[in-house]
């Protein structure tokens, strides 16, 4: 019974495919999976916009959208209709072709990232041998679409936003990759399916998730920082800082194209969250052995939504960074820490089982963190700031 519920989508797909002639079955299978991804994640996007607006509202002691439907849950539908029926304006001096291509490239690239995410037991579009590399390669190509959008708009705000976005994404891609490499080192595979399988084991009913190791925990924190920056989320939302750049690189977009950018941004959040869940939180595996009867895809999506909620929570809490703070943080703190973490993971790998490696690895990471943090705090780099004119 539990198994059927777990595999229900897989069985459903097989059943649908088996109806058709053998010649087109493989293509149909892929098509069905693609359709499922294209249907599920925008739906999740709609849900997320409500959660975000309601949640941010609550954090600011407001109610949030509450007019459309009960408790405002139909708000995304209203928003969708609004943006679909709005006039699509292209600035006269804009580069029309590039301006048109940019949102398409973004959305297509972001969607491709979902192809390798295992969303449940046997639920992945392709089990690619180099899945992680594919994911990052696709992630890297979204930068170009952002540049296209910013440059083709012929707007200073757009261009500034795009340059900021590209600089930021390039800077944080390095720690993002580096913090994931740790997992690859330990698992010995770039395949996300294998990574999840490696975590889907239990000792005393507790899972073998990588976040429950010193290096995994450190990597997870840095992955979160880098992932937040990679998706241009607050507090790293300089590229679209409303108070400075109108809307950043998509200032000149309206109507459906704007909606596509919005969608792309949220899909990026989902894919980074999904990757984080896969790498560190055991993907679709249950958090406790006794909870294994719950279908695996529920675990995956609840982990993704949980990280989305945390992202929203962070957005409601932290103010925006300044450009130099952003860059300093990436290159002078996160990147060295990820490099150190690589070393720690290597030590972990070669120390063999036992309590000793826990102590050694935690000591190194914590020690460096505390020392660097204290020194930098003392140097007033990351510490509380006092502003001369803002007393």
């Amino acid at each position: 019974m539990a198994n059927t519920a777990d595999q229900i989508f897989v069985l459903l797909k097989h059943w649908i495919v088996s109806v058709f002639p053998i010649a087109i079955q493989p293509y149909l299978g892929v098509l069905l999976s693609v359709v499922a991804i294209i249907a599920v994640f925008p739906g999740l996007f709609a849900l997320t916009t409500v959660i975000e607006r309601k949640g941010l509202g609550r954090m600011q002691n407001r109610i949030g959208p509450n007019r459309t439907g009960p408790y405002g849950i139909l708000q995304p539908i209203a928003d969708g209709i609004k943006s679909l029926t709005k006039e699509d304006i292209v600035p006269t001096s804009a580069d029309a072709v590039v301006h048109f291509m940019a949102p398409l490239v973004l959305v297509v690239a972001v969607f491709m990232g979902f192809a390798v995410l295992p969303m449940g037991r046997n639920m992945q579009l392709v089990d690619m041998d180099a899945g992680l590399l594919f994911f990052f390669a696709i992630g890297a190509s979204t930068e170009l679409s952002i540049f296209m959008a910013g440059w083709s708009s012929r707007n200073k705000y757009s261009l500034l936003g795009a340059m900021r976005a590209v600089a930021q994404m390039i800077s944080y891609e390095v720690p993002l990759l580096m913090s994931s490499v740790v997992i690859v080192m330990i698992t010995g595979s770039l395949s996300l399916v294998k990574i999840v399988d490696a975590q889907n084991q239990y000792t005393w009913g507790l899972p073998h998730w990588y976040i429950f190791t010193p290096w995994g925990c450190a990597a997870f924190v840095m992955f979160c920082v880098a992932g937040t920056a990679e998706t241009n989320r607050s507090p790293f939302d300089l590229p679209e800082g409303e108070s400075e750049l109108v809307a950043g690189y998509f200032t000149e977009y309206s109507g459906f194209k704007f909606a596509l950018f919005f969608l792309g941004e949220y899909l990026g959040m989902f894919s980074i969250s999904g990757l984080g869940a896969t790498l560190f939180l055991g993907g679709w595996s249950a958090p406790l052995q006794v909870l294994n009867f719950v279908p695996s895809w529920i675990w995956f999506f609840s982990k993704v939504m949980l990280s989305i909620v945390v992202l929203i929570w962070i957005r409601g809490t932290l103010p925006r960074l300044r450009q130099d703070q952003l860059m300093n943080f990436a290159w002078k703190f996160v990147l060295p820490m990820t490099l150190l973490n690589l070393l720690v993971a290597a030590i972990w790998r070669f120390m063999g089982d036992g309590i000793l490696r826990w102590i050694v690895c935690s000591a190194i990471l914590l020690g460096v963190y505390v020392v660097v943090g204290t020194v930098e705090m003392r140097r007033k780099k990351y510490g509380p700031r006092s502003y001369r004119y803002a007393e």
Binding site: R58, N61, R62, I63, G373, T374
Partner: protein, 277 residues
């Protein structure tokens, strides 16, 4: 410790988010169309015209003196004085505004019209849901739309309205007493049959000064007696003249208490008229 502040901030926002479900005083949002805050009594938005009694047209306190029109800084009031006179709420023949429009898209809610009105005829409304789908005519209110009863005035500004009513009543009573005294004095002095006549003429000078800037000439507190020679008798009734005098003097008793602000108003009018002409 590095990162401590972030955790502190996260705690605070979480407290806010969860607390807004628990405690009512945290969530201060008023869901407007369904829930409304009671407006503070002193709130004001755009002017309206007060009328006494039940019929707005005959009960308008406004006598089309046009002071407000002249004083209005953004010039949003348009008044056309009537050619004839009509009896007002108390039956006294008066000029009335044949046309009284306020363009509330121009009005800046400064309340100067209320300050200068000698007849307590224009007051500030609190109504703010004034949106209209007609871009040009919708916000140009004519006198029918502007006219609102004294009861309504009591409703929106109870304290102020009762003050105004009390003042009007007191003035009316005082003027009546004065008129009676004057009439009595006149009767006693002249002891002649046309004794009632001298009291009556006061009304014309009374209305005239208000809109022809001759107010300074008529600002003598002891109105009736001084004005006796001028004016023409229009009605034989003795009570109406008394009321009328009352109205004329409406601003006279107020002059001392506003410390010269009031005496200025008429002179300002004269000056402006001089400019205009």
């Amino acid at each position: 410790m590095l990162g401590e502040g972030i955790l502190k901030g996260l705690k605070e926002t979480a407290r806010n988010a969860l607390g807004s479900y628990v405690s009512k005083e945290r969530l201060t949002t008023v869901e407007y169309p369904e829930e409304r805050l009671t407006l503070p009594e002193a709130s004001r938005n755009f002017p309206f015209l007060v009328y006494d009694g039940t019929d707005w047209e005959s009960g308008l306190r406004c006598v089309a003196c046009q002071i407000c029109e002249k004083e209005c800084p953004p010039k949003c009031i348009y008044i056309e004085k009537s050619k004839d006179k009509k009896p007002d709420a108390v039956g006294k023949a008066q000029f009335y505004p044949a046309k009284f429009d306020i363009d509330i898209s121009v009005c800046m809610s400064c309340q100067i019209c209320v300050e200068v009105c000698p007849f307590e005829a224009i007051k500030m409304n609190t109504e703010f849901e004034l949106s209209t789908d007609n871009r040009f005519g919708g916000l140009l209110l004519d006198r029918k739309e502007l006219a609102l009863s004294n009861e309504y005035y009591h409703q929106i500004h109870p304290t102020e309205a009762s003050e105004v009513d009390g003042r009007l009543a007191a003035e009316r009573a005082a003027a009546e007493a004065k008129a009676k005294a004057a009439a009595a004095a006149a009767a006693a002095k002249a002891a002649a049959p046309p004794a009632a006549k001298p009291a009556a003429p006061a009304l014309n000078p009374a209305a005239a000064p208000a809109n022809t800037s001759a107010v300074p000439a008529s600002e003598i507190p002891s109105g009736p007696t001084a004005k006796n020679p001028t004016g023409t008798p229009t009605s034989a009734a003795t009570a109406p003249p008394a009321v009328q005098n009352n109205v004329i003097n409406a601003d006279a008793p107020r002059a001392p208490e506003t410390d010269g602000a009031k005496p200025d108003a008429p002179s300002a009018i004269t000056k402006k008229e001089g400019d205009a002409s």
